[in-house]
């Protein structure tokens, strides 16, 4: 065992976790280690090695035998729970039991008590049939809306970018707007590019849309020679990774400009573009504006890219993520150096188009949850999932409101009660529609009890068919 002085606990654990150490040697000697508690035993063993200062292999393996005996005991006692509890909860339970029992003595009776309590708690936590989960979800998401701030243009981690947050963002999400107010992307990079700022910026340059406007410092219209004289900003050129020759090449690709773009022989930073002879001042200005908006490199729609340094909470390593102003998911995914599995856009519609409806559902859940979390509001994820499912279950993104879910209800009365009352009624008349009064809103309107909650229960017995009371 090496000397542990001057090392942090984390480092020691790290070292001991490496394959081939004392603990591993012991572990490899024994075949029968219960699968459920394998990691827990290993963890405990490493801790014991440190805390109890176990040095000899014999000590460790006798400790291991103890631990394995305990693990077997726990698994035997908790066996009945395995059939009832979902796998995740069961594993958590046995691990927690092991963790505690390796520190303090727990009797079999106590373990049985704990096991039964866990089963009871789980069964009690299940939803009751008939529960109006839709209404509860809607209330749970909307009720905190009153507590949200209204106009928060906040920096979300990045000081450079303003992002819509709070109530406006939530409304935008449930509205399933085509384009968000502040479109944004989080571009993750592959292993090669994510650790160094320079490499990250290299990808950033590939993504960021650069217009001629951005790199030009001045422009003059020479009507005498019918020329457009563009002076480039060398600082910006370097920043964007462009040279004058490259720009000339790119500009020359356009049909109207080919052969007309020339470098100025006297100044290395100046480009001269010939204009048609017929141009007067107004036309020349329009021409200039058009040239200025020409894309030199990057992807359409991405106006700004910022590299952000982040720390991986697991490994403690720093890495870079690109935050973009504007979105173009389909194009960014193809860019070299981008990790397409992690990169995402905040435009749910775009995600639906590029990655499909399941991804859109995930994106919706994540965005809504983030919006609420950011305001410090606790809302259970199940409510948000239900909302997202309702918005996406038909296969397309549907808005919450009259152009989406509420407007596509099969009931005339429910639609009329929501928003466009009169038109719905007239159209229903013309089409000879039938309202089968199955929903909640219709039933309230006609004064019947809606089939929800306690009203879901019906009497199957037909009392009229009973001739005489059953006796015996």
């Amino acid at each position: 065992m090496s000397d542990n002085k001057g090392k942090t606990v984390h480092e020691v654990v790290e070292e001991l976790s490496q394959p081939g150490t004392l603990v591993d040697r012991v572990l490899s000697r024994f075949k029968k280690v219960p699968e459920e508690l394998k990691d827990a035993i290993r963890r405990r063993l490493i801790k014991d090695v440190i805390e109890l200062g176990l040095k000899e292999e014999e000590e460790v393996s006798s400790r291991f035998k103890e631990l394995r005996k305990l693990a077997d005991r726990i698994l035997k006692v908790t066996k009945p729970a395995e059939e009832v509890l979902p796998e995740g909860i069961f594993l958590e339970l046995v691990n927690e039991l092991f963790e505690t029992a390796s520190k303090i003595e727990i009797t079999d009776d106590e373990m049985i008590m704990i096991r039964d309590d866990a089963i009871r708690t789980y069964l009690r936590a299940l939803v009751d049939p008939g529960e109006p989960v839709g209404t509860v979800a809607a209330q749970s998401i909307a009720e905190p809306g009153t507590q949200m701030t209204l106009r928060t243009f906040h920096y979300a981690g990045v000081r450079e970018l303003n992002v819509t947050l709070g109530l406006p963002r939530l409304i935008e999400l449930v509205d399933a707007r085509k384009v968000p107010e502040t479109p944004m992307m989080e571009v993750h990079l592959d292993e090669e590019h994510r650790y160094e700022r320079e490499k990250a910026l290299e990808v950033a340059r590939r993504i960021e849309m650069t217009k001629l406007e951005t790199v030009a410092s001045a422009v003059d219209i020479d009507l005498f020679n019918n020329q457009l004289i563009i002076t480039l900003d060398p600082g910006m050129l370097q920043d964007k990774g462009l040279t004058r020759d490259e720009i000339i090449k790119i500009l020359s690709k356009s049909k109207t400009l080919s052969g007309k773009v020339k470098p100025d022989p006297n100044d290395p930073n100046v480009i001269v573009i010939d204009m048609p002879k017929t141009y007067d001042i107004i036309k020349a200005q329009k021409f200039r504006d058009r040239i200025f908006r020409m894309k030199l490199k990057g992807l359409k729609g991405i106006n700004k890219v910022i590299a952000q340094r982040r720390r991986d909470p697991d490994t403690g390593k720093y890495y870079y993520v690109l935050i973009t102003d504007g979105t173009n998911l389909s194009a960014v995914l193809k860019v070299e150096g981008v990790d397409p599995t992690k990169t995402r856009s905040n435009s749910v519609h775009e995600i639906e188009e590029v990655l499909g409806i399941e991804a859109a559902r995930e994106a919706l859940i994540r965005e809504i949850k983030n919006t609420l979390d950011e305001q410090g509001l606790d809302v259970d994820i199940r409510h948000i999932m239900l909302l997202a499912d309702m918005m996406t279950h038909t296969g397309t993104l549907r808005q919450i409101g009259r152009h989406g879910i509420a407007g596509e209800k099969p009931s005339v009365l429910a639609r009329a009660a929501f928003e466009i009352t009169v038109k719905n009624l007239f159209d229903a008349g013309a089409a000879g529609e039938v309202d089968r009064v199955e929903g909640v809103a219709e039933n309230v309107i006609i004064g019947q009890i809606a089939p929800v909650g306690t009203a879901l229960v019906e009497l199957k017995m037909d009392p009229t068919k009973i001739k005489k009371p059953v006796s015996k």
Binding site: I89, Y122, P132, T152, I171, M390, F418, D427, D435, T454
Partner: protein
């Protein structure tokens, strides 16, 4: 068994002229309404055969009185047909999609057959797809320029909004009678393919030839105090229609020139249009003499106050009360204090049985004027006896037999629904147990303020009395307050300790609290404790008890719990049992051994707290009783000890002010330097920001640091165990920021997240130089509330405050609308017996609710089973 009728469906359609005539009791023939005697004219719009509107009258048609006469329709034959404004779009589509000669859909027969077959298969299963198909067919047919059936060339048809159709061909203007003839020719099958149901909605019925005249009950006239009759808007409109119709008929009969007839025809069209909908774009709304637009048919249905949202989806009810609320910590959290006056007005129907007849007799003998009495007696024939007008109550009481129903006053123990608007979540309506109290306000326990979002600055609340056993049973099992302690929004209690309960809990459970026997007795008496008093923790020099000991009497014997307290932060931080500061809560086997009780232990809206687990593990009813007792005890203690906040708690000595002043001066200097740098172009812009923005951000940074520093100075000079700090630290009320603002400095005021910059040109107020962007000129308030604000500071503070108010006002309307849409979209979703989520229409939304079938209400912060807690619960005392 009562044969209860259930509405299984409602079919919509268009009334045919024949139908209108056959359901009419009379033709309306005259525009006269009343004769010179003020009696309604027969054949006028107020014809008595249309129904009664005055009590006591008998209906000329059905012979019933006001209560039972449903009203009867009349009809008016129009001299010339007019277009129904609601169907203009449909008429337009049909005219364009069908042949001008043969009326067939302008598609080849085989195509029609094919599409029709497809349509029929889609219709019942995928109505949305059928709709799309119809739209597609329609669009295709409109494009045809030649009829594939008869070969007739087709012309473009133009719709001149709102109601004129023009063919750009030989027919020219299509008057409604022409349109009607055209529509009559369209065969039924073609209509079906276009999504119309010719059985109940032939397109020619979209042209009005006979107008139904609604019953008088729909448009009652009211008698003003002056004795003048005031007619309903609809009646006015009907009179207009009849008058124009008369004129039109006369002109036609007298052979007036076509122009005049057409003018009158257009006028009739206008009146009929506005009669149906008075807000059609392009049509000037018909107005009353006062200039107010008339409220005609469409307006009656539309919008928030309309029939659908105002009268059908929500209704006004009897057996309800509303008054101001006030607090009462002495009642249970599931009780509501009801003023005696209200208890004597609201009633509960009691069916008389041999077992309760004596009790009910007492109520009758007391009568309506003496509490607890009764207001009405209903005999088995359904006759209602109003006890207010009965002199001999004794006779009624004696005549009482099983089978009678007595409407007795509200008494203690009755169950009622209690509500505060806006009803944003289900905890906005909960069932409470009545406690009749003197006074004029509803009394509620303070712990239920968070779910209702109530305070006592004048809030009013509503109370409803369920009138039958089913409603009461449901209220009792599902709606009682204790059933809603745990919020379904997140797994945690929404009802719990607030404000003084938390201060009290902290003070009682503090290590420094030693209680004499008298005090212990007092505390335990306040919760009617019955049982042994524990051995005192300190025996000498005087037998003294710890607050922790007394509180432990309320805990279940096997309860184990460990968690950091709210006060555990900064210097007082503790995360295990070795805690000098008493900031780590340890309960072992029902004994509070270490740690103080504060917001983290008993607070409302704190998931995974001691309170949360007490409720989760010992049940809602235990939770209710625990809170009743514990909170009462905390308050009793805080009363014993005394708890105030005075100016002395926040006043700091002169030296402190000087220190703060230095901090402020330093910050000002820093800002000055920043501005100087900026002016000399020495400031470097942050990436992605302009120079100006960078400057602002840096200045804000400096100033907020200054405020924090000032706060720290003030805190240093204040007694950290004074009542204000106790409140802030335990989470009872207020924060360190509040203390800073009271004692040290308010800090930067902001509007729209920026320093205040608007007002005069280049300056906020005329007191500053133009272009001054220093702290004072941009809304930095260096004074504290204790010291007082200068007029200029006060102005900036008000500006910041105003934004908050505006923000709240705007936000409520926006989030309210969002909530309405969300609810409307999700309200049909329920969990079915197989654990899946379906809409009541049968659509499957989720295979398993929330992917794990767990009710968020029954989770601890999202987790169905928290294994570590369950282990702790049983063996935590060994740790």
């Amino acid at each position: 068994m009562t044969d209860e009728k259930v509405i299984g469906g409602i079919k919509f359609g268009i009334l045919s002229p024949e139908m209108i005539r056959s359901m009419s009791v009379t033709a309306i023939v005259t525009s006269e309404v009343y004769d010179e005697n003020g009696l309604p004219v027969e054949g006028g719009v107020m014809d008595p055969r249309l129904g009664v509107i005055e009590p006591g009258q008998r209906c000329a048609t059905c012979g019933n009185t006001l209560a039972r006469c449903p009203g009867h329709f009349g009809h008016l034959e129009l001299a010339r047909p007019v277009v129904h404004i609601g169907f203009v779009k449909h008429i337009y589509d049909l005219l364009r999609a069908t042949c001008r000669k043969c009326g067939r859909l302008k598609l080849p027969q085989e195509e029609i057959d094919r599409y029709l077959d497809l349509y029929k298969r889609l219709k019942d299963r995928w109505p949305q797809l059928a709709q799309s198909l119809s739209d597609y067919v329609k669009r295709k047919a409109i494009k045809a320029t030649k009829c594939p059936h008869c070969g007739e060339p087709q012309y473009k048809i133009r719709l001149e909004k709102p109601t004129s159709f023009i063919e750009e061909g030989p027919l020219g203007r299509l008057w409604p009678n022409k349109i009607r003839e055209w529509l009559e020719r369209i065969p039924d099958d073609d209509l079906r393919l276009l999504g119309y149901d010719p059985e109940v909605a032939r397109p020619e019925w979209m042209i009005i030839t006979v107008l139904p005249i609604p019953p008088i009950a729909v448009r009652p006239s009211i008698l003003l105090e002056t004795g003048i009759r005031s007619e309903d808007d609809l009646t006015h409109k009907l009179v207009d229609i009849i008058r124009t119709n008369e004129k039109l008929r006369e002109s036609i009969n007298s052979g007036a020139p076509e122009v005049i007839v057409e003018d009158l025809w257009e006028l009739l069209q206008y009146h009929v249009t506005t009669y149906i909908d008075n807000e059609v774009p392009g049509v000037p709304p018909a107005k009353r003499r006062s200039g107010m637009p008339l409220r005609t048919l469409a307006q009656r249905l539309k919008g928030k106050g309309g029939r659908f949202r105002g009268n059908l989806s929500g209704k006004r009810v009897d057996f309800s009360a509303r008054t101001v609320i006030s607090p009462d910590p002495n009642i249970s959290i599931n009780e509501v204090g009801v003023p005696r006056d209200i208890a004597m007005t609201l009633t509960v129907p009691v069916r008389v049985t041999p077992w309760n007849i004596d009790e009910v007799r007492k109520y009758i003998l007391n009568g309506p004027g003496k509490y607890p009495g009764a207001n009405y007696v209903i005999d088995p024939n359904g006759r209602r006896i109003d006890l207010r007008f009965i002199k001999d109550l004794k006779a009624i009481a004696e005549g009482l037999k099983p089978g009678y129903v007595v409407e007795r006053h509200l008494i203690d123990g009755d169950i009622v629904l209690f509500n505060r608007q806006p009803s944003l979540h289900r905890m906005s309506i909960m069932a409470h147990v009545v406690k009749v109290l003197p006074g004029k306000t509803f009394r509620l326990h303070l712990a239920v303020c968070p779910p209702y979002n109530a305070d006592f600055d004048g809030d009013e609340m509503n109370l409803h009395v369920p009138q039958n056993v089913e409603a009461r049973a449901e209220a009792k099992t599902l709606l009682l307050v204790q059933e809603h302690i745990l919020s379904p929004r997140y797994g945690g209690p929404i009802i719990g300790g607030i404000q003084d309960f938390i201060s009290g809990a902290y003070l009682l459970s503090s290590k420094a609290t030693l209680l004499t026997k008298d005090q212990v007795s007092d505390l335990l008496a306040s919760i009617s404790y019955e049982g042994e008093i524990p051995e005192p923790a300190i025996l000498s020099p005087k037998r003294s008890w710890l607050g922790k000991q007394i509180f432990s009497l309320l805990l279940p014997e096997n309860f184990n719990f460990m968690k950091e307290a709210n006060i555990s932060s900064g210097e007082l931080k503790c995360s295990d049992e070795e805690c000098f500061w008493d900031s780590y809560l340890v309960v072992k086997r029902g004994k509070l051994l270490l740690g103080v009780l504060d917001k983290a232990a008993i607070g409302a809206q704190k998931p995974e707290s001691m309170l949360h687990y007490l409720i989760r593990e010992y049940g809602n009813t235990f939770g209710k009783e625990f809170m009743d007792k514990a909170f009462k005890m905390f308050l009793r203690f805080i009363e014993m000890r005394g708890f105030t906040m005075s100016i002395n708690d926040i006043v700091i000595p002169r030296e402190a002010y000087e220190e703060i002043w230095q901090v402020y001066e330093k910050a000002k200097e820093e800002v000055r330097k920043l501005i100087e740098d900026y002016q000399n172009n020495r400031l470097e812009a942050m990436p992605g920001r302009t120079l100006e923005e960078t400057l602002e951000i840096k200045i804000l940074d400096v100033l907020s640091r200054a405020r924090d520093e000032a706060g720290e100075i003030a805190v240093r000079y204040l007694n950290p165990f004074n009542n204000v700090f106790i409140m802030a630290r335990t989470g009872a009320r207020g924060s360190t920021l509040n203390i800073t603002q009271m004692a040290a400095m308010l800090g930067q005021q902001s509007v729209r997240g920026q320093r205040i910059s608007r007002g005069y040109r280049d300056r906020t107020l005329p007191h500053f130089k133009k272009g001054d962007i220093g702290p004072e000129a941009r809304g930095f308030v260096a004074s504290s509330f204790v010291k007082g604000l200068t007029p200029i500071e006060m102005f900036f503070h008000a500006a910041g405050g105003r934004e908050g108010l505006v923000d709240t006002a705007v936000r409520t309307s926006q989030s309210g609308y969002m909530q309405r849409r969300l609810i409307n979209s999700l309200l049909d979703l329920i969990v079915t017996y197989d654990g899946a989520v379906r809409s009541t229409y049968g659509e499957l939304i989720q295979f398993r609710y929330g992917e794990d079938g767990v009710d968020p209400k029954n989770t601890s912060f999202g987790e169905a089973v928290k294994a570590s807690r369950i282990v702790d619960k049983h063996v935590g005392w060994k740790k």
